[in-house]
Symmetry: C2
Subunit: 201 residues, 2 copies
């Protein structure tokens, strides 16, 4: 018989889903994805090994939710330190630096966000988070690159160019493939060769 006065551990956690996501995130970033298991998440939160199944159908579902959370946070990185009144150049540079800073601050999570097999790429929540990130990039992309073709094709090429460049840079940087001292000094802004128009400032 359990007394009501001293609060025993409740049968129901209350917010297990978020707690599991937080634990998973912590495990991922401190011990790497190979150390991330549903059981460890459950243990970290203090519930039974199979409790996560009530909130995530399988491990992929949890990783997908984690990735979606990652995109949302990356968006925040791209928008941080910015007032709406900031001019175009400032916004541009802040967004690109934010993108890279996020990858550097959370390399394991960033890798998960682009892992083809570990996340369900058709998940609506994930797609929504991805989309919100890339409207930012798509807007910035208007300023970069001289390309041939009609307006739609030019837009597409600009977006592909910028996204490829910043994503490739972020991943090669976090994968430690840039070794030379001269490379380590160069930021993402330093390796963008030109502007279409210097409409900012």
């Amino acid at each position: 018989m359990k007394t009501k006065t001293q609060d025993a551990k409740p049968y129901h956690h209350g917010n297990l889903r978020d707690a599991l996501l937080a634990a998973a995130r912590r495990l991922l970033e401190t011990e790497g994805h190979s150390a991330l298991s549903l059981r460890k998440c459950a243990a970290a939160v203090g519930v039974s090994a199979t409790a996560p199944q009530n909130h995530f159908a399988n491990k992929t579902a949890l990783l997908t939710a984690l990735a979606a959370q990652g995109y949302a946070e990356m968006e925040a990185y791209m928008r941080r330190n910015l007032s709406d009144a900031a001019n175009r150049k400032t916004r541009r540079e802040a967004a690109l630096l934010g993108y890279v800073a996020f990858a550097q601050d959370h390399p394991a999570l960033y890798e998960l966000m682009f892992a083809r097999e570990r996340v369900s790429s058709i998940d609506p929540d994930l797609l929504r988070s991805v989309g919100k990130c890339f409207v930012i990039l798509a807007d910035i992309a208007k300023d970069f690159g001289h390309f041939a073709g009609g307006p739609a094709k030019v837009d597409a090429k600009q977006q592909m160019f910028l996204w490829s460049l910043v994503h490739g840079y972020a991943q090669l940087l976090t994968a430690n493939r840039f070794k030379k001292d001269d490379m380590l000094e160069a930021s993402i802004l330093d390796i963008i060769p030109e502007l279409r128009t210097d409409s900012g400032h």
Copy 2:
């Protein structure tokens, strides 16, 4: 008692290491990395479940060898269809198209080649294979981008620019992040905005 006339399965495989790598490669490309286990590799080759341990200290060692093999093959893709007499522009375009073609033909292997946790990034064989790929890119990079700084810094920025661009493009393409029709039409050559000098042709 075993007769010598009908050849019984030999106790020693003869070339188990290569056979395991081939089996691993097949599993990776047909069923994905989550279906790749040491035991399945062993079973595919027809040896006991723990035989691989004699050739690969652990799973990471096998994946690292597989990644090294991938870089060697990507180099072949970049060099294919080329005579030494080809002019600079032709070599440039063939190498870039080859890089992307490799990623498209072997997306799971390509992803492995840049996976931070699954491969040992300090493995000498891997580093050698990576290096041979990127002398090609480093040479091509000389033609791209106007950057500030001394010669060494300019070289570094050009290399970072080109490698980031082509790697980001390849990964976003294989990860199916380019959705719009206009994007699917654009090749890597279409999203490179300019040449430093048109020294080729």
